[in-house]
């Protein structure tokens, strides 16, 4: 009986220590560990797993040790993260310094060297962490925490790596990418600034929004034309199939179907879903971005409905809405609204 308990105890220890290669050996001041999206105060003896970050403040410091005798010194005002990536020889540990200063001392017994990542050396990392800020004016700000992200708008792509960001105005190509280091991301002020410039010139803002919607509509039209062509081809081939079924029997019909109709079906399904994707994106844009601007403008000019600028805005808004009704609504149904 005692043996069973011993085996269970050893098994529990083995399970709980599995994967814990790095531990905190010294902490000076207040140091945080960010694990699974939550912050914890760090204490000596805490273990770190892949994905965990050590965050030091302006007057704190931490030392880490790995089982293979390497030491890591995290200086004040730094963010240090242990990551894992798939390398040519399997999983590789990445010791990543997001910001600040970190020193490394590797022991003699160290086997496979880990990868030391800096903000300019992360393209190879698999998996991506990014933050998307969507502003009330339809602008988007993307900030990448790790991995490689390709941002595309209006047919132009920008590759972002760790600690890079880019802003995309509605209906425009992505702007110049920028570094996130030393830049505090404050969504509230970014969003307020964007909306203020929109309200200062609603006609230009609406023009950009119209371009964005036109971008969605163009995709819908291209895909719908393709789908219509494929469906016509399918109908034509199905008639031939019916003829073969009648004249040559079920087995011949089946062989003809597998070879000629089924490949078309494999293409039409995803095409239809892509059309729906762009239609739903348009609906969301119309509802939350265009709709929000329309309501705000209506409230602002409630006492001055004949104002020239407001009337111009309304006329432009009607054109955008007509385009939406004509090209997007046919692909929507009650479930979407």
């Amino acid at each position: 009986m005692k043996k069973i308990f011993l085996i269970i105890f050893i098994a529990i220890i083995a399970i709980t220590t599995y994967g814990q290669n790095t531990s905190l050996v010294y902490v000076d001041g207040w140091v945080d560990i960010r694990s699974a999206g939550e912050l914890f105060e760090a204490f000596p003896g805490d273990s770190l797993r892949a994905g965990d970050s050590v965050i030091t403040g302006s007057d704190s410091y931490a030392e880490l040790e790995q089982k293979n005798l390497s030491s890591i010194f995290v200086e004040p005002d730094s963010i240090f993260t242990i990551r894992e990536m798939e390398g040519s020889s399997g999983k590789e540990t990445v010791l990543s310094t997001t910001v600040g200063s970190v020193s490394f001392k590797f022991g003699k017994l160290f086997g496979i060297e880990p990868i030391i990542a800096t903000p300019s050396m992360v393209a190879g990392i698999r998996g991506t962490e990014l933050t998307v800020y969507a502003g009330e004016d339809g602008s988007t700000l993307i900030a990448v925490d790790s991995g490689l992200v390709t941002v595309e708008s209006q047919g132009v792509s920008v590759d972002l790596v760790k600690d890079e960001g880019v802003e995309v105005l509605p209906g425009e190509v992505p702007g110049e990418k920028f570094s996130l280091l030393g830049r505090e991301m404050d969504f509230a002020s970014w969003n307020a600034e964007k909306y203020e410039s929109l309200i200062a010139d609603p006609e230009t803002g609406l023009k950009h929004m119209g371009n964005q919607l036109d971008g969605f509509i163009t995709e819908i039209v291209i895909l719908d034309n393709l789908l219509t062509e494929l469906k016509m081809e399918k109908e034509y081939i199905k008639k031939e199939w019916q003829k073969i079924l009648d004249e040559q029997g079920k087995e011949q019909g089946k062989a003809f179907f597998n070879k000629n109709v089924h490949p078309l079906d494999l293409k039409t399904g995803p095409l239809f879903l892509n059309i729906r994707y762009y239609s739903l994106s348009s609906l969301s844009f119309r509802r939350f971005i265009l709709g929000g601007l329309y309501l705000d403008m209506k409230a602002r000019y409630i006492m001055d409905v004949n104002n020239n600028e407001y009337q111009k805005f309304l006329s432009m808004y009607e054109d955008v809405m007509n385009s939406f009704e004509e090209s997007v609504v046919p692909f929507l149904d009650a479930n979407d609204i």
């Binding site: 789908l227 469906k231 399918k234 109908e235 199939w241 019909g253 089946k254 179907f257 597998n258 109709v261 089924h262 079906d265 494999l266 039409t268 399904g269 995803p270 239809f272 879903l273 892509n274 729906r276 994707y277 739903l280 149904d333 479930n335 979407d336």
Partner: protein
């Protein structure tokens, strides 16, 4: 003491009743794929319920025309669909299906368990590949 025992037993019985009711509502992987097949061959009005709302295409396919129109490999005209469901399938498994028009085709399912302690297993379809081509994701 007697009252405490009754109270503990009552709570235990309630938990058992709730969890067993939930378990009746849930679905194993096998049952989910069977239900999908039944819905494909039936009215299709509730077919969306076989899918996880985590599917990227969930909203896109939540429209009657996708299931009733001659748009996909699951064309309504091809009834009856017959999916060969292996016993005790894994969360990702490949099998074959045929329909009234042709086949057999390779079909691969990836399911996720959306159940919890009270509902029991409730597997939902997350991705479907047909002949290595992603059809629903």
């Amino acid at each position: 003491m007697y009252k405490k025992i009754v109270l503990v037993l009552t709570v235990f019985a309630l938990v058992m009743i709730i969890s067993s009711c939930g378990a009746l509502l849930g679905n194993s992987i096998e049952e989910r794929v069977q239900q999908f097949e039944i819905d494909l061959n039936g009215s299709r009005s509730s077919i969306i319920e076989n899918f996880s709302s985590d599917c990227g295409n969930y909203n896109a396919m939540n429209i009657a025309t996708y299931w009733s129109d001659n748009t996909s490999v699951f064309d309504d005209d091809y009834k009856t669909f017959n999916i060969v469901i292996p016993s005790d399938p894994a969360e990702t498994f490949t099998t074959t299906y045929s329909d009234n028009a042709g086949g057999p085709y390779n079909i691969k399912f990836y399911l996720v368990n959306e159940g919890d302690f009270f509902s029991g297993d409730n597997w939902k379809i997350r991705t479907i590949w047909v002949d290595d081509s992603v059809q629903i994701n």
